[in-house]
């Protein structure tokens, strides 16, 4: 009943031969496995097996909550628990995760392995900053409980370590109390990149959640025009009673033809979005599902990109060169007539404890690109610019970065590799991405 031509794919539909084997028993499942994956929401090849291996351990069935203390918010759960399920369970009781990525269809294990950041990075850091303990199966088969104090090197290398230092079996972290289950939000329009970045910076001084959407294909004076979104949890008096129901996602029924998304269609869509917002600011109390997970309303939206799929290039640029650095990157994209289907800009706070975690102080720019024959050259050009600007890229989104580029961006790599090698001298744990970027054995 097993097909031999099976493949496993990341969210961007980049795939590798092999299959995901799921079990609700992670201890048994990870015995001898080379990689774990959660819900496969990383865009590139982070969750795909290396070429010589045909199986990756799927954690999504291991979804039990093992403890929750309503006095402190401390929660312990199996690594396959999804953020979607957790929110459905605890938001109605006044709790939310301290940090959420832009989709709820991720697992706790994936949130730790990528050390995800959210709209509140400038105040609350990454998810890993709120994690208190991890139970791991390390390469030699042992099961290790680590915390920032106990085997702290392993803990810090695992937070943001993309599954390469151990299989995460259990995660303990603190949930955050929220005053209501609703978000008080505002949005303002900005006519170009400089205004957009200034508005983002200004918003972040007063608001815990901020992010900007930019029109990635508009050029000239309109380069980087967009909308800044900001929000905070509504106080009980401002919000409806009770919690909102999660929306029922609409499915994309089939793959769209590969060329559906192009600079013309995206430009029209962006212009409409920009114009519809209007000149004046908007305020509303909205559901956190809409505020945090706008894309989750469309299930399988990756099908909009056709069979070849998409990649995301997300980099963070240090603050020293200011807004000019972001402008620089957008100009490069405009010059190359890149089809930037989505462009999201976020200002980041300080670097966290994860040895190889992506965020650092500066501005993060994430762009979604349909994959075509020019993608490799475009990503190379972007990465060369990122290196010049002193920035770095996010592995959870990546499928095209070259090993030498990554090395040039990551002075922290040696330190992380030293810890990894101490726990896994034979490099048993590896992924398609680690073979590509770190030169691991296939």
């Amino acid at each position: 009943m097993r097909s031999d031509a099976a493949t496993v794919a990341g969210w961007g539909r980049v795939s590798a031969p092999g299959r995901e084997v799921r079990s609700d028993d992670l201890v048994r499942l990870t015995d001898g496995a080379v990689l774990s994956r959660g819900l496969g929401r990383s865009y590139g090849d982070s969750s795909l097996p290396p070429p010589a291996v045909r199986e990756v351990a799927g954690t999504a069935l291991a979804d039990r909550v093992l403890a929750f203390d309503p006095a402190t918010g401390r929660l312990r759960a199996e690594a396959g628990l999804s953020l979607h399920a957790l929110t459905g369970m605890l938001l109605p009781r006044g709790w939310f995760v301290p940090v959420t990525p832009g989709t709820a269809f991720v697992t706790l294990g994936g949130m730790v392995a990528a050390d995800v950041h959210g709209k509140n990075h400038h105040v609350d850091g990454c998810f890993g900053a709120h994690v208190e303990a991890l139970r791991l199966r390390v390469a030699d088969g042992r099961i290790v409980d680590c915390t920032p104090e106990r085997d702290g090197d392993l803990f810090r290398a695992t937070v943001g370590g993309m599954g390469l230092t151990g299989h995460i079996l259990e995660v303990a972290f603190r949930m955050q109390r929220v005053p209501s289950a609703w978000i008080e939000s505002e949005s303002v329009r900005a006519a170009g990149i400089d205004v957009l970045l200034a508005e983002l910076e200004r918003s972040s001084a007063a608001w815990p959640f901020t992010v900007a959407w930019a029109d990635g294909v508009a050029g000239g004076a309109r380069l980087g025009r967009g909308i800044v979104h900001r929000g905070r949890w509504a106080e009980p008096g401002e919000a409806p009673a009770g919690a909102p129901a999660p929306p029922r996602p609409v499915r994309v029924p089939c793959d769209l033809p590969g060329r559906t998304l192009n600079r013309t269609t995206v430009g029209l869509f962006n212009a409409a979005l920009y114009r519809r917002h209007g000149r004046s600011g908007r305020r509303e109390v909205q559901s956190p599902y809409r505020f945090f997970y706008p894309l989750d309303r469309l299930a399988d939206w990756n099908r909009l990109y056709g069979r070849r799929g998409l990649t995301q290039h997300q980099c963070v640029l240090p603050p020293e060169r200011g807004p000019a650095a972001v402008r620089d990157l957008l100009e490069l994209l405009a010059r190359r007539r890149a089809c930037v289907c989505l462009c999201v800009i976020k200002n980041c706070g300080n670097e966290g404890a994860g040895t190889l975690s992506f965020p650092r102080r500066g501005t993060s720019v994430a762009i979604d690109l349909p994959i075509d024959d020019g993608t490799q050259a475009l990503v190379d050009a972007l990465n060369e610019r990122v290196i010049d600007l002193g920035g770095r890229i996010y592995l959870a989104k990546d499928a095209f970065t070259r090993a030498e580029h990554f090395r040039a961006m990551e002075p922290r790599l040696d330190c992380w590799t030293a810890v990894r090698r101490r726990w896994d001298p034979e490099l048993r744990l590896r992924s398609a991405q680690s073979v590509r970027i770190l030169g691991d054995p296939a």
Binding site: M1, V65, L66
Partner: protein, 244 residues
């Protein structure tokens, strides 16, 4: 209502227990592995916002001597039993069982003889209290024999027939039997197999089964479409069934 579940540590039993605890039913768990039982009980405690985890007692379908003590302990801890659910079962494809006769005998024993033995205890407890619901997971594999799951299908066919017979015999005395016939559902049990069209999710199966329990429906296919799939499969000519 008060429900006892055998096999709620994983899969569809886990999903059903979560649904029941979230709507306020009182639960008691039975299972073979104390550590797994404890983890599942804590999961249900959090999901149901309970002061304490639901009680759990050891019960192994491979060891019939555990049935009566487990069910008695459950009845005592809950006060009264309204529903007994059995999702526990063993599964293996025919190729595996043909190369391992001991495993084959064990599967036939667990999935038929011992499941029936457990149900007999449950039936007596329910009837002695004036009635209740016995909900047991059989399978579409019991509706039509298939070459890939000969023995498992035979055990499930026997189980389905047993449950139908119980319904005929004890319905008037207040026993409601619910025979659940899952099609392919994505759980750990089927993790090694390629999902066919119409594969289901445990949460949706749980919603359907809970409704069947509430209404006392004697047979329920889950996902629902499998009722129609099996209507066709049951009528396929033998020559077609021999093809695979």
């Amino acid at each position: 209502m008060n429900a006892v579940l055998l096999g709620a540590t994983r899969g569809m039993g886990r999903a059903l227990a979560r649904l029941l605890v979230a709507r306020g039913d009182a639960l008691c768990l039975l299972g073979r592995d104390p550590a797994e039982l404890e983890r599942s009980a804590r999961d249900l405690q959090v999901r149901g916002a309970l002061a304490a985890p639901p009680p759990a007692f050891p019960c192994d379908l491979a060891r019939p001597e555990t049935f009566a003590p487990a069910l008695d302990a459950a009845a005592e801890s809950l006060g009264r039993l309204d529903v007994v659910v059995v999702t526990a079962a063993d599964f293996a494809v025919q190729t595996v069982l043909e190369s391992d006769p001991d495993r084959a005998r064990a599967l036939a024993t667990v999935d038929f003889a011992n499941t029936v033995g457990f149900c007999e205890h449950a039936r007596q407890i329910l009837l002695s209290a004036g009635g209740g619901t016995l909900c047991v997971f059989s399978s579409v594999a019991g509706d039509r024999a298939r070459s890939s799951v000969v023995l498992y299908g035979a055990a499930k066919a026997g189980l389905s027939a047993y449950l139908e017979g119980l319904d005929h015999r004890y319905h008037r005395q207040g026993l409601r039997t619910v025979c659940v016939k899952p099609g392919f559902v994505r759980t750990g049990m089927t993790a090694g197999l390629d999902p066919p069209p119409f594969a289901g999710d445990p949460d949706r199966v749980a919603r359907r089964v809970a409704r069947a329990i509430d209404r006392g429906r004697p047979v329920v296919y889950a996902p629902a479409v499998w009722r129609w799939v099996m209507l066709v499969v049951r009528h396929l000519p033998r020559a077609v069934m021999r093809l695979r």
